[in-house]
């Protein structure tokens, strides 16, 4: 009996609470991680899907691919896997997190070649602590009932499920292939390693340009002479962007008095900027 056909599922619904940025849109070597990961898995599976939260359904970067929306929004990665099995119950799923910039085709091929289709899942052991890595793993159709039972018990940690289940565990051929990126500092380090030049604080004169929207308020709006603008910039962080705008727009407020917002949320001066971001520099507030 042949093994169930393998589909791919890239999980992009994470809330990125530590990064404060959509990890799928972080760029490495000039390319968003969403596109890098989909390019990696598409040739290795019969069909590849992007797993999204319901409210991400219309995100144009995600809808460039086939998507599967979570049925519930409180299950984390398990919600994505649950929705994938609901959509295609007879297929096996290669499930990948989208915060694994070092993942390479060799690591995925190794997983597929060693796949144990008669067990519930095949996964790597973490190079760091030996625990199963549930977000670079293959889930067989037979795992669905066990996962649903796990969810019904109120559990949502796929790693714990794997630790108890009938799972084939492999050693990683490349110890760093599954290093993940959770914070702005980890991103800067990873993008530097992967050739984005993203690590140092030097002048942002070279490197890829990204299109961002800048919004101005109050005194900064008057100094800039506009409420907003779209521009192409080599700035990699809000700090570099503000330095550029001080020069080019004559902004005269010192940055230590300002706060940063990215995509309508308070952000960080060192947070990496991505294509399409909206950045606002907020003068000292005075409500009431």
């Amino acid at each position: 009996m042949s093994a169930p056909t393998l589909y791919g599922l890239l999980l992009t619904g994470g809330r990125s609470t530590r990064m404060k940025r959509d990890k799928a849109r972080l760029e490495y070597a000039g390319k968003p991680q969403l596109d890098r990961a989909m390019a990696l898995i598409a040739p290795l599976v019969s069909r590849a899907f992007v797993s999204v939260r319901a409210e991400q359904r219309d995100d144009p970067q995600r809808t460039a691919y086939d998507t599967i929306a979570d049925l519930r929004n409180d299950l984390g990665p398990l919600g994505g896997i649950q929705a994938a099995f609901q959509a295609h119950p007879s297929n096996a799923w290669l499930v990948l997190a989208c915060d694994l910039p070092f993942l390479d085709a060799a690591t995925i091929r190794h997983l597929i070649e060693r796949r144990a289709a008669t067990r519930l899942a095949t996964a790597y052991r973490s190079g760091a602590n030996g625990l199963p890595e549930p977000l670079c793993a293959i889930y067989e159709p037979a795992s669905r009932a066990s996962l649903e039972e796990w969810i019904a018990q109120g559990m949502n940690c796929p790693r714990k499920w794997m630790s108890r289940g009938d799972v084939e565990l492999l050693d990683l051929p490349n110890a760093h292939a599954l290093d993940n990126v959770n914070t702005a500092n980890e991103y800067l380090a990873a993008s530097a390693t992967l050739g984005n030049g993203g690590s140092s604080g030097g002048a942002a004169s070279s490197g890829p340009l990204r299109r961002v929207k800048v919004r101005y308020f109050a005194l900064l709006r008057e100094q800039a002479g506009r409420g907003s603008e779209d521009l192409q910039t080599a700035a990699r962080t809000p700090q570099e962007l503000y330095e550029q705008l001080q020069r080019e727009r004559g902004l005269r407020l010192a940055p230590q008095f300002l706060r940063v917002a990215i995509n309508d949320e308070f952000g960080d001066w060192q947070q990496p900027l991505a294509e399409g971001d909206t950045v606002a520099f907020l003068p000292p507030v005075a409500g009431g």
């Binding site: 109050a218 407020l253 008095f257 907020l282 507030v285 409500g287 009431g288």
Partner: protein
Amino acid sequence: MNRFTLLETPLEPARLAETLRHPSCGGYATFEGAVRNHNEGRAVVRLEYEAFVPLALREGERILAEAKSRFGLERAACAHRVGVLEIGDLAVWVGVGAAHRGEAFEACRYIIDHIKHSVPIWKKEYYPEGDSGWVNCEQCAAAPGSH
């Protein structure tokens, strides 16, 4: 939700206070902030408020939620004006409902203090001499030549 609102029209305290009523509340406290005819030693003729709307709404809701859990409130609401306001106009209204008066007074104070401190709303003062200035901003210039 929408317990924190930004309005381009005059605030109506009586109507806003109606939204607080709840059978488990024994104490209601409200605060009204109005446009004053002077600030820091200068006469002021009117004010203009500007907000970063999506972030102001989110931050305002966050402060109300924090106050509700911190003081065990049944109700918490705030409405803030944007646009041009004349002397005497209401700029902000805060209202809370709690089981007892102590939490109600404290929570009302907590909410207005935090709203003034962190919600992205800005205020421009216009003076009788014809000039104007953004409150809290005018002292924040970068040193000349610095970046």
